[in-house]
Symmetry: C2
Subunit: 431 residues, 2 copies
C-alpha cells in the first residue's frame, strides 16, 4: 500500500465520517476499549517483543519504561476512552447565528478539520489517545509512532480499525505508517492531508515545516521560565521554582531557566541552591549569580537550551521588564511563570509575555491537556495560530459558515429591494 493511496483512503473516510453522528463516533470509542481488553494477550505479547528488541539495542531505562504497555496502563487508557466518550460532541456546534437580511440566516458551525498526519514518540498509549481524539472529533488520522513500538502499534491499530468497522465507519479513518519513508511521502500529499502534528524536537518540527506545504502545528521545545519578582513571597518562590524543575525532569513543561530579580537574589538564591543540591540539580549561573552562590558559568547557549535533565540555568535581572524581554527572546512560547505578590507586575507579565501559558504563583508542571480539563491532548502547540498550548478536541476542529436562504440575490441588496438587518440571533443551525 503506498502512501498516496493511504491518504486517498483517509480522505474518503473523512467524507463519510463528516456525516456520522456523535453517538456513532462514541460507539467506536466503546468498541475500541472492548477490543483492547479482548485482545490484550496479543497486545502484551507484541509489546514484550518490542521491549526485548529495545533492551537488546541498549535503549535507556526511562525510555524502556515508557515503551512498556502493561495491564495497569491498558486499564488506564480504557478508562480514558470511556471518559472521552462522555464528553460533549465537539462538532456540529453553532458558534453564532446572524440574520443578514429578512429570512437569510448565517450560522458558524464547528466541523472536523479533515485528514491529520500525526507523528509521535515511542509510547504506545499515545496511539490510543491520539486516534481516539481524532475519531471523537470526526477526523481521519495517519499515525506514525516510534520505531521501537512498531509491533505493539500494529496490534493497537488493528483494534481501532476493528472498532470502526463494528460501528459501521470506514477502517481507513485510522491508518498506521511504518517507516520514515512513509513520513517523507506523507509530507508531499498536500492536496489530501489538511494538517500535520509533529511531536518532537525543534529541529524535527523545522524539518517537517521545511519539507511540506501542509500546515503544521508543532509540539516543539519547552523552554519554560520561572521569574521570581522583587515582590515575591519567598516560601511560594521556593515551592514553585523547585517543583517546576524537579517534579519531572524529562518533560516539556519543566523549568529550564530561573530568572531572579536583583533585589531578592541574595536572600533567595542560597536557600534555593541548597534545595537544588539535595535533588542533584546542577546550576549554571551568570556572573551575578556566581557572586552569590558557587555554580557553573552559564553561556549564551544555556538560555536557549531545553536540558530535559537535572540542570537549571539561573540569571539575575534588574527589572520585571528585563525578565519579560529575556523570556520573549530566549523562550519557546510554551509556559512561563511569575512569582509575585504585586498585582501590577503580574498584569504586565501576563500581557507582555508572548507564550501559550502565563502563570502566577504556580508550578509550570500544570501545563497539560488533562490538567486543563481538555480531556487529553494530541500535543502542546507552541505556535500562535489555530490552537495554542495543550491541544485537545477543540484544537482538532475548525468551522464552516452555513447560509440558509430562499433565493436572495446580491442584485436585490444593491437595488435596495432587500435591506441588511444584521441581527444576532440565538438559534442553532437546522442543517
Amino acid at each position: 500500500m503506498n502512501l498516496s493511496s493511504m491518504a486517498s483512503g483517509a480522505r474518503d473516510a473523512f467524507y463519510t465520517l463528516s456525516v456520522s453522528s456523535g453517538e456513532t463516533r462514541n460507539l467506536v470509542l466503546k468498541y475500541f476499549s472492548d477490543l483492547l481488553q479482548e485482545n490484550r494477550d496479543g497486545i502484551f505479547a507484541a509489546n514484550r517483543e518490542d521491549l526485548a528488541e529495545a533492551e537488546a539495542s541498549g535503549l535507556a531505562a526511562p525510555l524502556l519504561s515508557r515503551l512498556k504497555l502493561d495491564r495497569e496502563k491498558l486499564d488506564h487508557v480504557c478508562d480514558g476512552l470511556r471518559s472521552l466518550a462522555s464528553l460533549k460532541d465537539p462538532v456540529g456546534e453553532t458558534v453564532f447565528c446572524h440574520e443578514i437580511t429578512e429570512g437569510l440566516k448565517l450560522y458558524r458551525v464547528t466541523c472536523p478539520i479533515g485528514v491529520i498526519g500525526i507523528i509521535f514518540e515511542s509510547r504506545p498509549d499515545a496511539l490510543i489517545q491520539i486516534s481516539s481524539l481524532a475519531i471523537k472529533s470526526g477526523n481521519a488520522a495517519l499515525l506514525k509512532g516510534g520505531r521501537e513500538a512498531l509491533r505493539t502499534n500494529q496490534e493497537l491499530i488493528r483494534c481501532v480499525r476493528g472498532a470502526l468497522r463494528r460501528a459501521g465507519l470506514p477502517e481507513d479513518t485510522a491508518q498506521l505508517l511504518e517507516t520514515r519513508e512513509d513520513v517523507a511521502s506523507m509530507l508531499k500529499e498536500d492536496d489530501k492531508i489538511d494538517l500535520i502534528i509533529p511531536r518532537g524536537s525543534n529541529a524535527f518540527v523545522r524539518y517537517i515545516m521545511d519539507n511540506s506545504r501542509i500546515p503544521v502545528l508543532g509540539h516543539a521545545d519547552g523552554i519554560c521560565h520561572v521569574y521570581v519578582d522583587a515582590a515575591a513571597d519567598p516560601a511560594t518562590a521556593l515551592k514553585v521554582a523547585l517543583d517546576s524543575k524537579v517534579q519531572n525532569l524529562a518533560v516539556c513543561n519543566a523549568e529550564e531557566t530561573l530568572l531572579v530579580h536583583e533585589k531578592i537574589a541574595a536572600s533567595f538564591l542560597p536557600e534555593f541552591a541548597g534545595l537544588l543540591e539535595k535533588h542533584g540539580v546542577e546550576i549554571r549561573g551568570d556572573e551575578a549569580v556566581r557572586a552569590i552562590i558557587p555554580c557553573v558559568p552559564a553561556t549564551e547557549e544555556d538560555w536557549r537550551t531545553e536540558y530535559l535533565d537535572a540542570i537549571l540555568s539561573i540569571r539575575i535581572v534588574p527589572s520585571l521588564e528585563a525578565a519579560i524581554e529575556h523570556i520573549n527572546r530566549y523562550g519557546s512560547h510554551h509556559t512561563d511563570c511569575i512569582v509575585t505578590t504585586d498585582e501590577n507586575s503580574a498584569r504586565e507579565f501576563f500581557s507582555r509575555v508572548d507564550s501559550a501559558g502565563v502563570y502566577l504563583n504556580v508550578s509550570t508542571r500544570f501545563a497539560d491537556g488533562f490538567v486543563y480539563g481538555l480531556g487529553a491532548e494530541v500535543g502542546i502547540a507552541t505556535g500562535k495560530l489555530h490552537a495554542r498550548g495543550p491541544m485537545g478536541l477543540d484544537g482538532l476542529t475548525t468551522y464552516k459558515y452555513k447560509l440558509i436562504g430562499h433565493g436572495q440575490t446580491m442584485a436585490e441588496i444593491k437595488s435596495g429591494a432587500l435591506k441588511y438587518t444584521h441581527r444576532v440571533l440565538d438559534e442553532k443551525c437546522p442543517l
Copy 2:
C-alpha cells in the same frame, strides 16, 4: 530602513500595544479618520498622480476605478472606521474559566497574534481597512500594497502613524513596505513575524508559502459552484445561479462552475442559457450540456479555472453525490451553493462539501466579511486552520492560557495533598 529593523520595530510596537486598552486603540481609529479628512487634499493629489501614471501605462479601466480614491470613497471608509471603533474589543475576553484544584483557576483569554505581514492589491481603501482591523485587535502590521497605489498609500500610512502617535502608541505599529524586495526580505523574518496574509492568486499564495517558514493564511482563488439539485425550485435556481455569476464578474465569490442534476437539466438549461446570453456570458459545457444547448466544449482545465470574467462552465451530474465529489475535487474550498427543496440533500451537501461557506438557495455573492457582520475583512481564508472564510477581527486574535494560583505544586497533586476539582466556573480573568 531595512526590513529586519522594520520587523524589530513592529515587534517592539506589538509588545507595547499588548498592554494598551481597547479605549486607546479605538481612539487611534477616531484620530485616523480625523487625519484622513484633514489631509484629504494631499491624499487626493497623490492619488491623481498614481492614476495618471497608471493610465499612461495602460492599466485597464476597472482597475483604474478601483485605484481611484475620491471624496465619496474616503467618507465611506471614515464611516467604516467609526463603526469599527464601536465594535466590542476582541482581545482580553475570557473564553472559559476552569478550576483545576482548590484555589487554582485557569482562564483562556483572547489576545492579539503579534506582528502580521499583509500583502494586498491596488485598492487604497484596503490599506485603511486592513491597518484599522490590525490596530483594533492589538496587532502590529507590515503592509505592502500594489505598486500602482504607492503615492496614495504613502499619504495614508502617514495618517495612520500620526493617529498612533496622537494616541500615545508606537508609530511602528503600522509600516509600509514599498518594493518587492521588501516582501522577499519580510518572508525571512520568521523570528519576528507571526503571520503572513497574502491576497492574490493561488500561484502567488503558493510562492509565499514555499518561501517562508512564517504561517500563511491565504486569500487565494475562489472557484465557487452552484449546484442545481433534482429537487430545485426552478425560479430560485434561475435567480441564484444568475446572480452568483453576473452580479459582479471580477470577484472571488462569483460562481465559476454550474452543476446541474440530469433530471432537471433539459428543463432548466435552455431558459438559463437565455438569461446568460442577455448578460453576454459565454458558456463552456460538457458533452451532456452541449446536447441540450449550444456552447463551447469544456475541458478538464475549465473545472479548475477561476475566470473572473463573463464565462461560466457547466456540467451535468447524475447525482448529489457526484456534485459533492466534483466540488471537493475541483473547487477551492471557498463558497459553494446547493439549490434544492429537499432537506436531506441540503443536509448531506452541508456536511460533505469541504468549503468555508456552504449555502442553501442563496447567491454565493454573500460571502463577505461586512455581509457576515464581522465589521470588515482582511481577506477570505481558503485554508482550514485558525480562520476560515471572511477573516475579521476574531481571525486576527489568538488566545493565551492564564493560570493563577498561590504556590500549588505538581508534587502536592501526585502525593494526594491536593486533588483535582475540574469545575467549570463563570468568571472573567482578573489579570
